[in-house]
């Protein structure tokens, strides 16, 4: 059995979305919470990629932030290499072994720092190296590793294109020598040709350095390319979770099917189809029972009443009454 790097057990995260206190008291409104992540469980084995996919607002970034400890769970537990994440984060030796890459390569790099200082920052923060020469050499090595040149270290972020900036983010993320990287939409702001460069780079680095990824994207084709395992999220829940190939070959959950049907694909030249109607409802006031029921072609009374639990089908976990009852056809 392979070793689990990150283990999330029934993790939830609530946000307080009430009006300001005074306003609330005056108008006598109750406190309101929004459940951004609802009872989510998954485990990631060393050297593999788990991807989470879903539409805007379904809770992907919140899971990403939970996974590196930027948010504390409101319920449930996250373990990093067997230890509770909060305990792991308290130890620098463990903390440096996880890092994060963000979507926006423009916003996530300090514009006033030279690239060499951006990349060296985690090295200094964790005291991995102290001699200046050693740091310079290491930064040069990291920049080379992500396809830039050591001389690029002298430049500032604005002198680089979007794809190059994302390479700098990756070099910075790698500089603390992490084993586990959370990548939140790392290529969503990039053109497809640049995206291909970055995805190839990420896979190369994974193979060379044995990295473990939690990879977040709304693009199913990208996710298919990157993942060993795949979780599909809808309104804060993982509705289907399993090996990527199984989920793509035999999507079981009606929402997974909808997503796969909705994606425009090169192979669709000249074909047409009927898109599913409706939109993702507000998570502040989610529908009863299965939250997908207002859009689901298979919804019935039970779906409107009862939240479906996960059931196992082959290697895949699915949260759907119709799948459980075998009435998906």
């Amino acid at each position: 059995m392979s070793e689990i790097v990150l283990d999330a057990v029934e993790v939830s995260r609530d946000f307080d979305v009430s009006k300001p206190w005074l306003q609330r008291v005056v108008s006598r409104e109750p406190k309101r919470t929004l459940r951004a992540v609802d009872n989510v469980s998954f485990a990631i084995s060393r050297g593999t990629t788990l991807s989470l996919v879903g539409e805007s607002g379904c809770g992907k970034s919140t899971v990403a932030r939970l996974a590196v400890g930027l948010y504390a769970p409101s319920g449930g537990e996250i373990r990093f290499e067997g230890q509770p994440l909060s305990a792991a984060r308290a130890q620098a030796a463990l903390r440096r072994r996880m890092n994060m890459i963000f979507q926006d390569p423009y916003a996530s790099l300090n514009p006033r720092w030279r690239v060499r200082d951006i990349v060296a920052e985690p090295i200094r923060a964790f005291g991995l190296l102290t001699a200046r020469d050693a740091i310079t050499a290491r930064v040069g090595e990291l920049l080379t590793q992500v396809g830039l040149a050591p001389a690029d270290g002298e430049k500032y972020p604005h002198e680089f294109s979007g794809g190059q900036r994302q390479r700098i983010s990756i070099a910075r993320a790698l500089s603390s020598e992490p084993e586990f990287l959370v990548c939140d939409e790392p290529t969503s702001a990039l053109d497809v040709s640049v995206q291909a460069q970055i995805l190839n780079l990420m896979r190369d680095l994974q193979q060379r350095l044995g990295l473990t990824y939690l990879f977040i994207s709304h693009n199913l084709a990208v996710v298919r390319h990157m993942s060993d395992r795949l979780g599909v999220m809808y309104l804060g829940r993982i509705v289907e979770l399993g090996p990527g190939e199984d989920v793509f070959r035999t999507p079981r959950h009606p929402y997974t099917r909808l997503l796969l049907d909705a994606i425009p694909d090169l192979d669709m030249v000249g074909k047409s189809r009927t898109p599913v109607g409706g939109e993702v409802p507000s998570p502040i006031d989610p529908p009863s029972g299965c939250t997908f029921h207002p859009r689901c072609p298979l919804a019935n009374d039970r779906c409107r009443r009862e939240k479906p639990a996960h059931t196992k089908h082959g290697n895949v976990l699915v949260a759907c009454h119709a799948v459980e009852e075998g009435r998906t056809a």
């Binding site: 053109d191 640049v194 291909a196 190839n200 796969l260 994606i263 694909d265 669709m268 074909k271």
Partner: protein, 324 residues
């Protein structure tokens, strides 16, 4: 005669450090009822092409050469006053962010009625009735009840539907849609594309669909133009450009898109990046990145030429050239 003819269009930006040529000799046609897709990386010149056609280039940007003909008459040299009735009535526009098109201070009904009355002679009552019909046609539920709602009361997908209604309500011959679904989730994107395609088909409208999403183009367009560094690299029927690209750049672009159908170990990768306007290489602008580059490419600039079914700006297809 094509509905729209763009001939040798050149757009320039005078700057302190000299003149930047953002579009350099672009030519293409759009026929009545046809959807022309325009793809390319960001900065390739897609939006500028659309803006030049509707006469909405932001100063100091200007058309520095070539001409644009609608129904055979030039529209690139018209004064603002002469252009205004054409915009809206003849050419409608849909942009990426619905909030830039919609006025937050007016109800969607008022905006629709105003646009309808600017271009069609209808009484207040009839215009309002027409507005309700359009909202219904773009799939706004309970349109009659919601016509007096303000843009912020709609979700992103619903707003984009309203924008489509606004672009189509004057019944233009041509719609320029610049990244109309880029800001939307995939399931909403699919709805909007189906809607746009259905409506334009029903009304015989031509569409110039600008997007960087090849999947959207594959499903929606009849023909596609691939832009690179301010020029058209390849243009042709969508099936041929997607499945049998002639230009090495198009080939690389198609290979770099991850597929839903089959998984590959590595994506095809075009190394390097598109050049900036200040550093466009001599000869073929793609030559420093092209796996098939040869001597001529570094000196002479290729124009679009026959390349099998499509047309490509590539010396591989010059008459008498040895095909690779």
């Amino acid at each position: 005669m094509p509905l729209l003819e763009v001939q040798n269009l050149t757009v320039e930006f005078p700057t302190r450090r000299g003149v930047l040529r953002a579009l350099d000799g672009i030519s293409f046609d759009i026929n009545a009822g046809e959807v022309l897709g325009v793809v390319g990386e960001s900065g390739a010149g897609k939006s500028l092409t659309g803006a030049a056609i509707i006469g909405l280039l932001e100063p100091p940007g200007r058309v520095a050469g070539g001409q644009i003909l609608l129904n055979g008459s030039r529209i690139d040299n018209l004064s603002r006053d002469k252009l205004r009735p054409i915009r809206g009535k003849q050419i409608g526009a849909i942009f990426q962010d619905p909030l830039t098109t919609l006025n937050p201070l007016y109800s969607v009904g008022r905006q629709l009625v105003e646009t309808i009355q600017t271009h069609l002679k209808l009484s207040d009552r009839d215009a309002r009735e027409r507005a309700v019909q359009w909202l219904e046609e773009v799939g706004i539920p309970a349109a009659r009840q919601r016509i007096d709602a303000y843009p912020h009361e709609f979700s992103g997908g619903m707003r984009q539907r309203v924008v489509i209604a606004l672009a189509l309500c004057a019944e233009p011959r041509l719609v320029i849609a610049d990244e109309p679904t880029t800001a939307l989730d995939v399931s909403i994107q699919a709805q909007i594309i189906a809607l746009l395609r259905g409506l334009t088909r029903d009304h015989g409208t031509s569409v110039m669909l600008v997007t960087h999403d090849m999947g959207v183009i594959a499903e929606t367009a009849d023909r596609v133009a691939v832009m690179y560094a301010g020029r058209i690299a390849e243009i042709g029927p969508v099936r041929d450009v997607v499945k049998h690209p002639a230009h090495p750049y198009t080939e690389g672009l198609m290979g770099s898109i991850p597929s839903l159908e089959h998984r590959v170990e590595r994506l095809r990768q075009i190394d390097g990046a598109m050049p900036r306007l200040t550093a466009i290489p001599r000869g073929c602008a793609f030559n420093p990145r092209c796996p098939k580059v040869f001597d001529r490419c570094r000196n002479d600039r290729p124009e679009l030429m026959e390349a099998g079914v499509t047309r490509a700006a590539c010396w591989l297809y010059a008459r008498g050239a040895a095909h690779v």
